[in-house]
């Protein structure tokens, strides 16, 4: 009797406490990077204030944290200082680093119901490869992209090529490139055939070539790389040959940032770059252009790229739940469509593409569909433990081969040995 009364009292107290707690606003801090031009930052601020208007119990402090690099640096520093954000958008490839630093928690605990699991299955599998490891989901795709080929239809017509047919494979890209490369009277090139930028992070576009050549650069546990595989060497040889043997691409390291501008200026007839530039090219290209999947070798292929949502350690259960609810809301078709159209990022769920606004957008601007359709052939972006270090080693090797300091084989052998030394402690 007494006992049951006591239990009731406990239950009642617990109940009051939980209602009291839920009546309090849940505060969330949310870091986000901006990696493309356009209205990315404004759109995120707009979406978070919409969410707060609809959910008065939640306060979200959306903090613009700079580039991807700055954002991960800030999130790690803040966490080490005992003041982590609850939610952050960070490169999908930084997953292993964040796990290694013991800073994030998987989403699975907060997505336990069957309905939630079905929701999780609604993302394109190509995007989930970089978001899951060891059977757990650490990232929810948000601002995701993939590289595509843009071509100048007028330059194609001028070179006697069908302006509506992009190169379908590696050989065609060289063949078309030779026709498209123009020289002036003194032998200086005025228009290159193709441009594959290689400054900063050459590994990303290079991964397009390796995927097409049928080889994967790192295992899904993130602790073994495959840099010196003969097929990787072959892919690098092809990239080097584009400028050195076939002379259809400018020699040396090619700047990322200047690539769209070079395309607009007619310095190159084709370029490989991210779909994140789609809106930019649409607004600024003074000629008719086309967008195609990257050319194939053994198969079609491209890496994915961009950022995921991560849940940080150190938050209360309630904060995590609120963060997950927010992520679910922002990934819902209406919000995701708004985000995709404002930036050019690929909407990561099929249901977004079913909405009327997205259908109208795609009908008006069919190139927007190319990236989505390419996802079928896309693979995880190169990601390992100590990711920045390992991709840094790989980037140096690529740069050394592109600038002719080392042969592709030599450069990749050295990179593999260095990556081994870093990764061996994670097996």
């Amino acid at each position: 009797m007494l006992k049951s009364k006591f239990m009731k009292a406990v239950a009642a107290t617990a109940f009051t406490f939980s209602t009291w707690a839920s009546a309090q606003a849940v505060d969330l801090q949310f870091y986000f990077p901006v990696a493309v031009g356009g209205k990315a930052a404004e759109t995120i601020q707009e979406l978070t204030s919409d969410y707060m208007a609809q959910n008065p119990g939640v306060t979200i402090d959306a903090v613009y944290a700079g580039s991807y690099q700055d954002t991960v640096a800030k999130a790690i520093t803040a966490s080490r200082g005992g003041n982590p954000p609850q939610l952050s958008v960070i490169l999908s490839v930084d997953m292993f680093t964040l796990i290694d630093e013991d800073l994030i928690v998987p989403f699975d605990d907060y997505l336990a119901s069957d309905e939630d699991k079905a929701w999780l299955a609604g993302f394109y599998p190509a995007f989930m490869e970089n978001s899951q490891t060891g059977g757990k989901t650490y990232g929810i795709p948000f601002q995701r992209s993939t590289p595509v080929l843009y071509w100048n239809k007028e330059a194609f017509a001028e070179a006697g090529l069908d302006p509506n047919v992009p190169p379908a494979n590696w050989d065609e890209m060289v063949e078309f490139g030779k026709k498209l490369t123009k020289k002036d009277a003194s032998g200086n090139v005025t228009q290159w055939g193709v441009r594959i930028p290689s400054s900063g992070f050459p590994y990303w576009l290079f991964q397009g070539l390796t995927t097409q050549n049928g080889v994967i650069l790192a295992n899904s546990e993130g602790n073994r790389t495959n840099f010196d595989d003969p097929k990787v060497v072959e892919a690098l040889q092809y990239l080097v040959d584009l400028s050195q043997k076939h002379q259809v691409m400018a020699p040396g390291i090619i700047e990322w940032g200047a690539t769209p501008k070079a395309f607009f200026e007619g310095q190159t007839a084709m370029m490989w770059t991210t779909t994140g530039n789609l809106t930019n090219v649409r607004d600024n290209a003074p000629f008719e252009f086309g967008v195609a999947m990257l050319p194939a070798k053994e198969r079609r292929g491209a890496p994915t790229g961009g950022g995921n949502f991560y849940l940080f350690k150190g938050a209360s259960d309630e904060q995590n739940q609120a963060a997950v609810d927010f992520v679910k809301w922002i990934a819902a078709p209406e919000q995701a469509a708004k985000w995709a159209m404002a930036t050019g990022y690929v909407a990561p769920r099929a249901d977004t593409w079913e909405t009327d606004v997205m259908k109208a957008y795609a009908k008006d601007f069919p190139p927007a569909l190319v990236a989505r359709d390419q996802l079928e052939f896309a693979v995880a972006e190169l990601s390992t433990y100590q990711n920045q270090r390992v991709t840094g080693i790989f980037n140096d090797a690529l740069a050394a081969a592109i600038t002719g300091q080392k042969t592709p084989e030599e450069a990749l052998k050295e990179a593999q040995a260095q990556a081994e030394a870093v990764l061996v402690e994670y097996r």
């Binding site: 013991d102 100590q386 920045q388």
Partner: protein, 295 residues
């Protein structure tokens, strides 16, 4: 009586020093000591705390080819920037110290690069260097019909391209010191020399330059420090590439600490930088200082 008086003065003295000391300790001395301690430990990661490594980090540094490469780069960078920016600064100061039309405007023009933030400057130069349609390529094509260049994307020229930006940025700043020093030189010395029949070159070499020596010492110490400190533009222009061809020691430290998150090893590299800088500063003061003052 006297003792309490002494004590009061003593307390006052320390109180006056305190604010500056707090900041000096918080932001200079304590971090420097912590860095030294951290350089003997491994990088803490998640559930693995830092463990004592002794000299392992230092052995790794000596065996690290990238470390030696950035050190050589830094040497070239110093050799390329210091003499050139000092020579330019003296030339510019002499030029704008004379009476010439629009002197104020020319002084301002020379000083402008100093006022601009280095990141903004780097973005402008990035456009100058852009292959094909950048300013330099448009000029060289229009004037000489040269083919497109790729100064930043070629390992042989990337570091030189960065040196040019740095000299452009620094020379105007050093000019200000020389200008002030030139104005402090009594005109009577120059007039006396002219009466003796000395030419312009002799006057510069025998009178002006020796009297500028204290300024040259000051400026050269600053230039040495800057050659290890100025890396902001590398982030924009080359990101250290291609294959570390334009990476400098401080840039490599940043990369190791905040891109690779190997803070233990980065601390070791920082110690190397600190030792190098102290040696250079001490060397300059002790070897140089005796010959600086004109007697």
């Amino acid at each position: 009586m006297k003792a309490t008086r002494f004590k009061r003065d003593w307390i006052h003295g320390w109180l006056l020093l305190l604010p500056a000391m707090v900041f000096l300790f918080a932001f200079t001395h304590i971090p420097a000591v912590t860095t030294l301690i951290n350089s003997f430990y491994s990088t803490p990661r998640g559930q693995r705390p830092a463990r004592f490594l002794g000299l392992d980090n230092y052995e790794r540094m000596l065996a690290d080819p990238v470390f030696w490469k950035v050190l050589w780069n830094n040497l070239w960078f110093a050799l390329g920037t210091i003499p050139l920016s000092i020579a330019l600064a003296i030339a510019m100061a002499l030029w704008v110290n004379d009476k010439l039309a629009g002197r104020g405007f020319v002084r301002m023009a020379y000083f402008t690069p100093t006022v601009l933030p280095l990141i903004a400057v780097a973005n402008i130069w990035l456009f100058f260097y852009t292959p094909g349609f950048g300013l330099f390529d448009q000029l060289t094509r229009g004037l000489f019909g040269w083919p497109a260049s790729n100064y930043l994307g070629d390992p042989d020229t990337a570091l030189n391209a960065i040196i040019v930006v740095t000299v452009w940025k620094e020379a105007g700043f050093f000019m200000i010191f020389y200008l002030a020093a030139l104005q402090a030189i009594p005109v009577s010395l120059k007039e006396a020399a002219q009466i003796e029949g000395a030419g312009r070159w002799t006057i510069f070499w025998r009178i002006t330059f020796p009297l500028l020596m204290p300024t040259t010492l000051f400026v050269s110490i600053n230039a040495v420090i800057n050659s290890f400190r100025l890396v902001d533009h590398i982030f924009i222009l080359t990101d250290g590439g291609p294959d570390n061809a334009s990476s400098l020691l401080l840039f490599y430290i940043y990369e190791t600490a905040f891109r690779y998150w190997e803070t233990g090893y980065a601390a070791t590299l920082t110690v190397a930088l600190l030792v190098l800088l102290s040696l250079l500063a001490i060397g300059q003061f002790f070897l140089f200082d005796r010959k600086v003052h004109y007697k």
